[in-house]
């Protein structure tokens, strides 16, 4: 019996190895699937799964289309989508806050929805919730707001003052340091003091804003100096922790160790689940200016990848319409207490009567839409270090505002070069 010579079979082994490697990559035909990349919370994801299941049951014509989703955190979602779309891949639908739309539009990664959907579909939505740039609509929201508001723990708070001075006085009363160790058992208020997103409402309250209509930063303003002075005062008064990121603020509030938290709609359901009896209130008006703090508002929306396979585009659009339909938005509003983007759904008597949603809507009315231009990224990054340095006492409010402006101008110039 002849034994095969090893050197003769070697090329076959090599080819088989390569084939096996390639086979291991598991090719999936993009024409037969709809993929969603999202940054939802666990509760939102559960609802999304349910809504996808309902879509499949209601649309037997797409029975051969496989629908899947992948979860990322907000930053990863953006970078992963950019990278995938650069290589002409990625999901069919990408879901997240509307400010990510700006870079996607500039990089030509998503499709204009006004060219894909009938006008009557877009007409259902509140125009302020539709991410519009260069005259086109780039995303369809299933909720709007994404805004910060004041959340009170009713176990500690009887009534929420509408005036900032009264509120600060109340915070001093509510802060309890029983053993006098300088570390209160109960804080008046907690919020993430790392991210400048939490500074913005106060900036608006003191008459400032982050940029002008031409996307030029306007950070070195009296409004910014006053807002920083106000927040620094809260830290120095000891009514909020000296070092507090989002997780710590969230934990303290859930454990009943803070009377108030400043947080957004994504968190309210979690507080209810944790057994905290919450009440929403407006961020209190600033007596010196007579203005209400103005949190940034934004929609959370689905956008369609430019590189969606043409064969799967009809199913993608059908799913998009389903996930932003009045029924789904009503369900989300009821389950998660988020504001619908659909005008008619918003007028639903049951939703109007919901005290949480009513308070949320009042705050949105005082909010300002988050600019969806790409320069916002530089603005955030310019604000963050100076904001932190100011609250920790390293910079005066004046120096912090000047540094924010200088850095924002430089970063935007670098981005544009």
């Amino acid at each position: 019996m002849n034994r095969p010579c090893p050197h003769r079979i070697a090329p076959f082994v090599a080819c088989l190895s390569l084939l096996a490697t390639a086979g291991g990559c598991g090719r999936v035909d993009r024409a037969d699937q709809v993929v969603i990349w999202e940054q939802m919370d666990p509760r939102e994801r559960t609802l999304l799964e349910r809504h996808i299941g309902e879509f499949q049951a209601a649309h037997p014509e797409y029975a051969d289309i496989r629908i899947s989703r992948a979860n990322y955190n907000t930053e990863d979602l953006r970078t992963q989508f950019q990278t995938a779309a650069m290589a002409m891949g990625g999901p069919n639908l990408v879901y997240g806050p509307s400010d990510q739309v700006g870079p996607f539009v500039i990089m030509d990664l998503i499709l204009p929805l006004d060219e894909l959907l009938p006008p009557e579909v877009l007409a259902r939505f509140d125009p302020s919730g539709l991410p519009t740039l260069e005259g086109h609509v780039w995303g369809l929201p299933d909720q709007v707001g994404n805004h910060l508001t004041l959340v009170a723990n009713r176990a500690h708070v009887d009534a929420i003052p509408e005036d900032a001075d009264a509120w600060v006085a109340q915070l001093r009363r509510l802060t309890v340091d029983r053993d006098g160790d300088g570390k209160p058992e109960i804080y008046g208020v907690v919020f993430d003091r790392i991210e400048p997103f939490f500074l913005v409402p106060w900036l608006g309250g003191f008459g400032g804003w982050v940029m002008d209509a031409q996307a030029n930063p306007t950070l070195d303003s009296q409004g910014m100096i006053d807002a920083l002075t106000f927040l620094k005062g809260l830290v120095e008064a000891g009514v909020m922790p000296r070092e507090c990121d989002y997780q710590l603020a969230d934990t303290l509030f859930k454990e009943g160790r803070a009377a108030y938290i400043v947080n957004g709609p994504w968190s309210w359901d979690g507080y209810r689940q944790a057994g905290v009896d919450i009440e929403l209130g407006l961020l209190p008006r600033i007596p010196a200016t007579g203005l209400w703090p103005s949190p940034m508002t934004a929609a959370k929306c689905y956008s369609v990848n430019r590189y969606t396979h043409p064969k799967s585009l009809p199913a993608t659009l059908a799913l998009l319409r389903w996930l932003t339909s009045p029924e789904v938005q009503t369900d989300l509003a009821r389950e998660l207490a988020v504001l619908p983007g659909d005008i008619e759904v918003r007028a639903d008597p049951q939703l109007v009567a919901d005290p949480l949603l009513a308070a949320s809507r009042r705050q949105v009315d005082h909010g300002r839409i988050m600019p969806i231009v790409s320069e916002m990224r530089a603005i955030w990054d310019a604000m963050r270090p100076a904001y932190q340095a100011c609250l920790s006492g390293e910079l005066t409010p004046e120096a912090a505002a000047a540094r924010m402006q200088e850095r924002a101008v430089r970063l935007i110039a670098e981005m544009r070069e």
Partner: protein, 299 residues
């Protein structure tokens, strides 16, 4: 004569066969290492950013010139060396120290070994985030411990150097088990007779360590240290997660976190690519210096 010819023939056949077997690996390496590498080098000579995403143009050495003119560049560069150096010193000292202890006959040795390997076995992401929580000013266990010892609380994450120290402590904890495992393997291969002979010759513990243990460990430690240098130099996770993307105020960045931010926060792809080439050349230089030093000592 015929025998020699046959041997040469067989050798060349064997060589060809080896080449065939190597081919798949070489092809995959070309695809996943060489191609991205040269693509990145090409990118570094372009103005590729968000606004030139579809139409990047050649801009020569502009990105490299920008890189050296960057005001933060020198600080980040020196901080990276400090980061790598401090981590390596502790990784090697603690790793070899723990290996020496575990190489002795101790009661419960398997338990200690498992416990000491634990930091390495845990996902880096989880460890880094846990350590970040432990460094909180008021509620972190590190400051609670300092409080029990009568020391004041440290604002670990709010100062430039304290944040850097927090990340370094985390990475030391994460990294020393690797050196420990390597050193333990090396120690177990040293013949006991050498120590017996040294003892008979009157060598003390320190002398035995410097004359036998260290030289015998060198062949296994050198590649481990080279790998450790590269991993530490390029360790994005720990700095990124413990200091929350280079906080406070982008002051705790090392080169890789700085380049990551340039690419994925500011979309400065061409600039970030030039930075990556610089990092590669720096690491290449370090490895070459290591190799030469190791070769000199070997002869």
């Amino acid at each position: 004569m015929n025998g020699g010819r046959r041997r040469v023939d067989l050798e060349s056949r064997g060589g060809r066969m080896a080449l065939w077997f190597l081919a798949p690996t070489a092809a995959v390496l070309l695809l996943v290492v060489a191609y991205p590498f040269f693509y990145n080098v090409g990118m570094s000579f372009t103005n590729w950013n968000m606004f030139h995403f579809r139409d990047p143009a050649f801009n020569g050495l502009t990105n490299y010139a920008k890189l050296v003119r960057e005001p933060e560049f020198l600080r980040v560069f020196l901080r990276t060396f400090l980061w790598t150096g401090v981590n390596l010193v502790f990784h090697v000292t603690l790793g070899v120290g723990a290996a020496l202890l575990l190489n002795r006959r101790l009661p419960g040795r398997p338990l200690y070994r498992a416990l000491l390997i634990l930091p390495w076995a845990m996902p880096q992401y989880i460890s880094a985030l846990t350590w970040r929580g432990m460094f909180n000013l008021e509620y972190g266990s590190v400051n609670l411990l300092l409080g029990k010892l009568g020391l004041g609380a440290v604002g670990w994450l709010s100062g430039e150097w304290t944040a850097f120290a927090a990340a370094t402590i985390t990475n030391i904890w994460l990294g020393f088990p690797f050196i420990m495992v390597v050193a333990l393997g090396g120690l177990q291969s040293i013949p006991e007779e050498l120590y017996e002979a040294a003892r008979i010759d009157g060598a003390g513990a320190w002398r035995r360590f410097t004359a036998i243990t260290l030289p015998m460990l060198r062949p296994v430690l050198t590649p481990a240290i080279v790998l450790g240098t590269i991993w530490t130099f390029n360790n994005l996770n720990v700095i990124w997660l413990v200091t929350k993307q280079g906080e406070p105020g982008d002051k705790s960045h090392i080169l890789v976190t700085y380049v990551y931010k340039a690419a994925f926060t500011y979309y400065r792809y061409g600039y970030a690519a030039a930075f990556s080439v610089f990092i590669f050349l720096t690491l290449f230089g370090i490895v070459k210096i290591y190799q030469r030093a190791a070769d000199r000592e070997a002869f």
